[in-house]
Symmetry: D3
Subunit: 138 residues, 6 copies
Amino acid sequence: MNKKVAVYRLEHFNAAHRLHNPEWDEAKNQDIFGKCNNPNFHGHNYNLEVRVAGEIDDKTGYVFDMKILSDIIKEHILDEFDHKNLNLDVPEFKNLNPTAENIITVIHSKLSKAINNSQLDLRVRLYETERNYVEYPA
Amino acid sequence: MNKKVAVYRLEHFNAAHRLHNPEWDEAKNQDIFGKCNNPNFHGHNYNLEVRVAGEIDDKTGYVFDMKILSDIIKEHILDEFDHKNLNLDVPEFKNLNPTAENIITVIHSKLSKAINNSQLDLRVRLYETERNYVEYPA
Amino acid sequence: MNKKVAVYRLEHFNAAHRLHNPEWDEAKNQDIFGKCNNPNFHGHNYNLEVRVAGEIDDKTGYVFDMKILSDIIKEHILDEFDHKNLNLDVPEFKNLNPTAENIITVIHSKLSKAINNSQLDLRVRLYETERNYVEYPA
Amino acid sequence: MNKKVAVYRLEHFNAAHRLHNPEWDEAKNQDIFGKCNNPNFHGHNYNLEVRVAGEIDDKTGYVFDMKILSDIIKEHILDEFDHKNLNLDVPEFKNLNPTAENIITVIHSKLSKAINNSQLDLRVRLYETERNYVEYPA
Amino acid sequence: MNKKVAVYRLEHFNAAHRLHNPEWDEAKNQDIFGKCNNPNFHGHNYNLEVRVAGEIDDKTGYVFDMKILSDIIKEHILDEFDHKNLNLDVPEFKNLNPTAENIITVIHSKLSKAINNSQLDLRVRLYETERNYVEYPA
Amino acid sequence: MNKKVAVYRLEHFNAAHRLHNPEWDEAKNQDIFGKCNNPNFHGHNYNLEVRVAGEIDDKTGYVFDMKILSDIIKEHILDEFDHKNLNLDVPEFKNLNPTAENIITVIHSKLSKAINNSQLDLRVRLYETERNYVEYPA
C-alpha cells in the first residue's frame, strides 16, 4: 500500500442568503437569527476548502489531479452557488435553512456523489467570514 | 508643525447587492453586468479600510483616536450597511447602482461629514473580494 | 442522529508576557528562554480559534449559535486576557509559565466549564505569531 | 501523564520544479501534467507547516522548543530545498516526480529522522500555492 | 467631471527564474545575487496587483470593467509568464535580468499598450514573496 | 535617467508597551488611553513594511539589494525593539509615548540615518494589529 496523503483545494463563491425558520413567527426568527434574518437578504464571500485523502498513485505522483478536482468543484458547486441567492436560486435550500452548517453538509453530499470513489476520504470546510467557519465531517 | 502621519482602521460588513441600470433592457444589463445582475441578488464580505492623515497631537501621541474612528465608522457605515441589501435597504442606492466604485464614494462622503475636520485628509478603500477592490480619492 | 459538524470562531487579544522558571537561576532561564525571558516583558497579538463539534439542531440549523459562542469567549477569555500582562494580571499564570502550550490548556479548561455541554467536543488553537501556534487537545 | 498539545511552526522556501514521468512519452506527459510539464521548469513559494504533538514538559512549559524546531527545519529542509531546482539539485527527486504529494512525504521522512523521538507525533503540511496544499500523514 | 476612483485587480502566476549579469564572472554574480544566482533556477508564486484610476462612468458605475481587466491581464501577462521560466521562455528577459524591479516595468509596459487609454492611470505592484514586493511607477 | 521603482520589505517584531502621559493624572490617562494604559503593559506582534523608491541600477537590476535592506532593518530596528518593552528598554521612548504614530516616526528617523542616501525616498508603515496601522510620511 502506498502512503496516504491529503490534498486540499481552495475555491470561492459569492452568494446572498437569509436565515429563517418558517415554523416560527417573526419575533422568534428575529430573536434567534438577529440581523441574519433580514427579509431582503445579506451576503458573503464564501471560501470553500475541499480535502481529499488517499494513496499516492505511482505513475502520476498524485492522490487526485488538482485540475480535475477544481473542475468538479466548479461544475457541482460554483456553477450552482456563485452569484446566487441561496434561498431563492438553489433547490437544496428551498426547504432547508442555509446556515453554514447546512450548506457544508449539502456541499459534502454533492461532491461525494461527483467524486464517487470509496478509496478516497472527503472532508470540506466553509469559511462564511474570516472569523466564522464550519467543517464536515467533524 | 508636527509630523504628519496617516492612521488606518480596517472594518468589515456583509451585504447583498445587485448591479443593474434601469435605463437599459434586460439583455443589455445581462451583457454588461453578467451574473452580478442576478435579480435575486448575491453578496459579499466587504472589508473597509479608512485612512486619516494629519499631524500628531503632542498630548496624546495620536493623529486620531482609533477607538473614536472605529465608533464613527460603526455609526455611519456599519449600522447602515451591515447585513443589509444595499439596493433595497440603503437609501443612497435607491437610485445609484451599488458598484464598488459608487459604494466607496458614498462611504467617503458619509465619513467626511461625520469627521468634519479640514485638518485631516480622508481616503477609503473597499475590498469587495480578495481580488477586487477600489480606492477613493484615486 | 443528525449530522455532526464542527463550527469555528476566531477571536483575538493583545497581551504582554515573560517566560521564566523561578526554580532556575538567571543563566539557566536565559539559556532556555532566550529573549523571551526579558524581565521587562514583551508581547503578542494572540489569535484564538475555538472549534465546537456537535450535531446540527433541526430547528436552528446551528451546532452552536456563533453569537453566543463569541459572547462566551469574550466573557471568559478576552475580558481576562486582553490588554493584560499574563504573568502579573491573570491569576492562572501566577504560578504557571505562560508558554503558548500552557495558555492554550488554561483557555480550554475555562471554555469547557463555560460551555458545560457533554454533547459537544471542544478544541482550541492559539496563534502566538503567524509562524508559531499550538492546539489542544492534540 | 501531562497534557498533550500540538505545536506548529511555519517556514518557507522558494524552488523550481517540473512534473514529468520518464516512462511516458511527451504527449502523455503533456496530457497528464499540462503546463506543469514545462521542460524549462516553473516555480513556487512553498510554505511548510510542521506539527509536533506531545506532552508539555513541566520545567519548560514546552512540548518542543520552537527555536530548536526551527533550526532542525532549516538544517534538514530549507538548506536542502530553498532556492533550488528540486529535479536537478535535490537527490531525493532524481528519480521521484516532485509533486506536492511526493515532496511532503520526503519532508516527513527527513524530519522524522532528525527529530528521532518516538514520544512525539509529526505531521507536515505543504502549501504549493494559496489554493493547493497537501498534508501527511492524512 | 465625475469622481476619480482607483480600481484594483489581483492576479497570480508561478514562474522559475535566475538572477545573473552576463558581463560579470561567476564570483561577482555569486557575490551580488547569492542563492538567487543558482544556474538551475528557483521559483516563486508571483502575485500581481493592477491599479487603474479614472472617472466613474455614469451608465455602468464602473471605472473599468473588472472582467475585461482580468481578461487583459490574462492575455498579456499570465499567458506569457505563468508556469514559465522567465529567463528561457519569455522574450523580454532574454537580455534583461528578471529581478522584481525589471519584471514590474515590463509588466507595466505591456499592460499600458494593451489598455491604451490616456484617460486612465496605471500602476502595478508585484509580490515576489510575502515579504518582498515592488511597485511601478514609484 | 532610469525608471524609478519602489521596493518593499516586510519585517516583524514582538514588543510590550503602555500608553501614558506623565503630565496627566491617572483618571485622565485612563479616560484617553483606556485599557492601553494598563500599568503592567500589554503587547503586540508588530509588522513593519519598509518602502524604498529610487532608480533601477543597470548592473544589478536592483533599486536596493533586499538582503542589505533586511540587514539594515535588523540592525537598526529589530535588534533594538524585538522582544523588548518599548517604554522601559528603548531609549527613544523614555520620554515619548509609544503610540503607533510615535513609533513609526522614530523608525523612519533611524532608518533614514542608516540608509543615508538622498537619491532614495523612504516610507514606512507599521501594523500594530491587523486592523490598526500607521504610515509615515503621510
